[in-house]
Symmetry: C2
Subunit: 322 residues, 2 copies
């Protein structure tokens, strides 16, 4: 993982600087909200992937920041609206923006970041980049909506679950990879290979996220343990647990989750059972398949530092603990 | 106004059909919200302007719907978020969407319409269109934000007021006109002339809107009379009234508006005084100047039905009573 670490250490400051400058230039009413969500960390995976695919394709110019960072801002915009609509209290260990700045500022900051992301992608006069970004924004919006709709009618349907994690997470990561390739003037086949890597990586990333939600204490993830369960979100660890269990008990649990009537005691008990049954680990095992598929997509790119880092990034998704 | 009427009667059905089909294709959770806001009428000024400028430039293809309607959807997205954040009760005479469908559905429908608008503009593979749309989205978001910020610190500053109506209304109308010209492959000068027409028309449009708010009964506008005053929005009729009045009284009124402490009796009294002082009409007189400027921008376009209709559309902005 040495190359991965070195690459991030070298490139992250430039990306963060660019993000900070764009947030600083926003209107006063929403500037602090934007700085709060951007400054709260995040792994900057999306901008790094855009950069890495551009470099893997031999792109040597230094004007990649706007398109790379647009994906991060789009992701931040989604978090702002999501956390507000979910009544979330924490984000990356800090108070959620709407609790600090109020609903008006938070909703409008989300709108402004979405608009800014889109405008940043349009700066290149490259119609393909615009199209990729427009589609990424659309797919992410639909993914958000599907997730909320699913949480109102939770089921154990794995296909529905997969569609949701693809929509809310993997499509945007696919978009980040495609944008890097498109910036470098990739052929459709090369762009598709980059997109395929991103899609599989994104699925693995979200699977691990959902596993961590059941397995990792708040102090590491910055989110309350078992948060998905409490919020009524059915994710793979719970699906795996309930597939092995009693059907009637599952229906009762889904009903309680849907109506928000799960008590703290019931939550703690289910959490322990899901952990004891090894379901977080089994979720990680699923993620490992997608990581392998992602890595296979790199075969057509010329060897070198970017492709090495992309391979290590895929492995890192699997080993991260927060 | 015969040509204007005939043109709208001929083209509106196609535009409405396209908008309905796009709304129908949205995700189930937000579809009805989108249909509610799109189906609640609106004058379709933005799509018509895009079409008219494309036709004025000799564009004879029939693939204009996506870009023309994208501006209408963008406008609808703004209304959804605005009405929710303003706690508005009515929109075009119907209950505001958030009161019918709830906050989650309404916020997400706004996000989805914004994303869809953007995606529709990107369908042409035309980088200039993408850029215009991206900038229009950004300027509209900033305009919304400025308006809300201004309402928290209302002043009698006419420059601030003008910036707000430009941001929240005129820039998007400018964008609609520019997109029509750009679709037809306009030179930068031609696109600028179309944009200048739109900017001036948009300013006139909003000035008349603000005059109507003080002068027109709910039954015609579908909005409560004096709504801006009640919501603490300082607009030109009030600025003109207070510029002629007592400074201390103005400060007191601004304070009450800011704190939302204006009583129904005070509102009714101020409304009557603003009307008696002829301030709605003086606001319309201002609008007339902008209409003239808009019409002057048409000089460079070849005469014909589209340019005739654009001239009549400018006059119509001034004479409308709702």
């Amino acid at each position: 993982m040495n190359e991965l670490l070195r690459y991030f250490q070298r490139e992250l400051p430039g990306i963060n600087q660019f993000l900070d400058a764009e947030a600083e230039a926003l209107n006063g009413l929403v500037r602090d909200v934007a700085k709060h969500i951007i400054g709260s960390g995040g792994k900057r995976i999306r901008p790094m992937l855009t950069l890495l695919f551009a470099r893997a394709m031999g792109y040597d110019r230094d004007d990649y920041h706007a398109i790379a960072c647009s994906l991060e801002l789009l992701h931040s915009a989604t978090l702002l609206h999501d956390d507000y609509l979910d009544d979330a209290e924490l984000r990356r260990g800090r108070s959620a923006a709407h609790l600090v700045f109020g609903r008006t500022e938070t909703i409008l900051a989300g709108d402004a970041l979405l608009a800014l992301a889109n405008e940043m992608g349009a700066r290149y006069g490259n119609a393909r980049l615009c199209w990729l970004l427009a589609r990424g924004i659309m797919e992410t919006a639909v993914g958000e909506i599907e997730e909320i709709r699913f949480s109102k009618h939770p089921t154990l349907d794995r296909e529905a679950y997969m569609n949701i994690i693809i929509g809310k997470t993997a499509r945007l990561i696919e978009c980040a990879c495609r944008c890097g390739a498109a910036l470098a003037g990739a052929t459709p086949e090369q762009e598709d290979a980059a997109g395929e890597y991103g899609l599989n990586l994104g699925i693995a990333f979200q699977l691990v996220d959902d596993a961590l939600d059941y397995a990792s204490p708040t102090s590491e993830t910055g989110k309350p343990e078992g948060g998905d369960l409490r919020e009524g979100k059915v994710t793979l660890p719970l699906i795996l647990f309930m597939e092995d269990g009693d059907e009637a008990a599952s229906e009762t649990l889904l009903g309680l989750m849907r109506d928000g009537e799960l008590t703290e005691e019931q939550c703690a008990e289910i959490l322990a059972q899901v952990q004891d049954a090894g379901c977080p680990q089994r979720t990680r095992d699923e993620a490992a398949h997608y990581v392998e598929r992602a890595k296979a997509c790199l075969a057509g790119f010329p060897p070198g530092e970017p492709v090495t880092v992309l391979g290590q990034a895929a492995d890192y998704v699997l080993t991260r603990t927060k």
